[in-house]
Symmetry: C2
Subunit: 374 residues, 2 copies
């Protein structure tokens, strides 16, 4: 049974909580740059949707369809240009990725999941839970994924290639040619490309390309409203499955969760229907400005870093200051800035620290880092 073999591994949340707790107990003011929780307002219509739901008939408080509220699925299908039957509304991207990985492993066409290094730590955790094996493809220094490196490691053992674009933690955004190549590699190896696109609204490069743009039965796209609507706690996500895999995924979803939570789904539906594109645009601009502010200060601090093309995070390396938990704690105590150790994301970034820019105090944090390291 897979879970018995799970090591006492530090997945992101426990480590994340340890760092947050350490920061909260610090004897000084600390700018938190640990979590990926948006710090801005959700869409006004989301609050309206919740308020209206609070007054709904008791019937509206009962089970939604297992695969999600019908209107919500229809909205998602229309926006993404896919057949509604292929859409399952999930308990956030977390469940969407779990279902996608289970689908890939259950096909019986390989038991290996190709992951990138650096990696989002839930992916290896889910792979182990599902009894799959892991193989890593190193990302380039700037976080880009070279399809040739993926092709080289893909084989008949490959069940899935799992990517995250825009990427956590590197900030890389994979362009259309890369996505096409990745799907082709999946097809050539009778595998699936799994593309987690939860940061898709935060592309600063204009080069983001969803895997949905590549027509193929060999890809699953996962996403959520967690980041785009600033509601990581609502747990409303979705996955778009190939036709021949969607029924098995619906069955697993039903057997694990029965259905997702209806108040959250209803609020997201209202927000989807009534929110002006300017809402998303403004938050993307806010984040793009924070990237500029923060990286400029990193220059002043003499740090090495990758300017993110998308997402919430900046990876930075300071001389003689590897990205260990001990150094993260030192930075909390002595600089008043809390980040995440780079070694939480695989071996490739052990020397680095990850800073989440979802705080209004980005400039202050940058100044503190410049002063500490300057």
């Amino acid at each position: 049974m897979p879970a018995a073999h799970l090591p006492g591994m530090d997945y992101e949340r426990p480590l994340f909580f340890r760092v947050m707790q350490y920061a909260a107990r610090a004897d000084r003011d600390v700018v938190g740059m640990v979590s990926g929780n948006p710090d801005w307002e959700p869409p006004a219509a989301l609050r309206d949707g919740l308020r209206a739901y609070a007054d709904a008939d008791p019937e509206a408080f009962q089970y939604p369809p297992s695969e999600g509220l019908t209107k919500l699925r229809a909205e998602i299908a229309e926006r993404r240009g896919v057949d509604v039957d292929r859409v399952i509304v999930t308990n956030g991207t977390g469940e969407a990725n779990y279902l996608a990985m289970a689908s890939a492993l259950d096909r019986g066409a390989g038991d290996e999941i190709l992951l990138t290094d650096p990696v989002y730590p839930y992916y290896p955790g889910k792979t182990e839970l599902l009894g799959g094996t892991q193989r890593y493809v190193p990302a380039d220094e700037d976080g880009q994924l070279d399809p040739a490196a993926v092709r080289e490691r893909a084989s008949e053992d490959t069940a899935a290639i799992l990517v995250n674009t825009p990427n956590n933690p590197t900030g890389a955004v994979y362009d259309e040619a890369t996505m096409r190549d990745l799907v082709a590699i999946a097809e050539a190896n009778d595998a699936l490309l799994l593309s987690d696109e939860v940061y898709d609204h935060f592309d600063y490069s204009g080069r983001f390309a969803s895997a949905l743009g590549v027509d193929s039965e060999h890809r699953i796209v996962t996403n959520a409203f967690s980041k785009s609507m600033a509601i990581t706690g609502f747990r409303v996500g979705y996955a778009v499955f190939p036709e021949e895999l969607v029924d098995a995924a619906k069955t697993r979803h039903m057997l694990v969760n029965v259905a997702g939570s209806r108040p959250a789904q209803q609020a997201v539906l209202t927000a989807l229907q009534e929110t002006d594109p300017a809402y998303y645009e403004a938050n993307r601009e806010l984040m793009a400005e924070r990237v500029e502010t923060f990286t400029a200060a990193l220059d002043d601090a003499g740090a090495e870093y990758t300017t993110p093309d998308g997402g919430f995070y900046v990876l930075a390396r300071f001389e003689d200051f590897p990205g260990t938990l001990a150094n993260v704690e030192r930075l909390i105590d002595e600089a008043g800035v809390a980040g995440m150790p780079g070694d939480a994301f695989g071996t490739a970034r052990e020397d680095w620290l990850r800073f989440a820019l979802v705080t209004p105090r980005v400039e202050e944090a940058a100044d503190r880092l410049a002063e500490f390291f300057g």
Copy 2:
């Protein structure tokens, strides 16, 4: 991989939906007695909690702790008299049972789940998903479970004994002596008793005994607020684990779902804190009255039935009218009453029909049945 082996089995919801759809398309008025969705008001404080949450700071819309809102877990732990560290808030009883069954199978002490016949159809489905095997213990004619029959079938292969009290579909409530015996059988076979107690607020016999009343490291209790607060769509449940299994269960919960949905958890917390016991009492009395009304009419219809000691359902058998889907459809068309086929719940009740009493039209339905069969 387990899910590839899942047959195209009819779990309750798809069949349930088929029957509901058939009823909705019928050319006549139909009293729906298919679903287990409460038809009464949720606690007023639940609506208040949702309204207040709709106005909360953006921070309150972000990830709750993976194992559930701290105050909600504390409320649950206090009410159930258990250590809060053993409580995981889940996406309804559905996820709670999934985690409990995975825990039992992951211990490496057997791969067989003992189930009752009749059985709630999600249980065999989850067993298959998790790669376990099933063995059935027949319930008595009145739905009671004879511990001797369980003891006879338990062995070193037994990973878990899974019971549901008050029971769906039989309406049986297991008394304290039975629960004590079941835990002892689990202990004697190095197995776990898994007790799904989601209908615990609907005990009409006064004999309900939670497995939490038996002190043992060999039992897991699952529950939810779905029925007691009339919110099956909110997906807020919980499981109480033995100390040595709770960490692995938290890891699985985190890897599958990250966390449950926060608006629903917050609303349930408010309702727990502010709802007078009279709310639960009134709904139990309402259901007890419906049981009386319905069974009296079944007498008039010449049906055989078991008077439920708890829960939402009555199993009834009409002469020469087996509980097939075809007969369920006939009853919809010709009597205007929609029930569930007994054969959805295993082999023991193939001749029976299950009627859910969560409709204000119980008396009307009973009259229609009396007229049709009388």
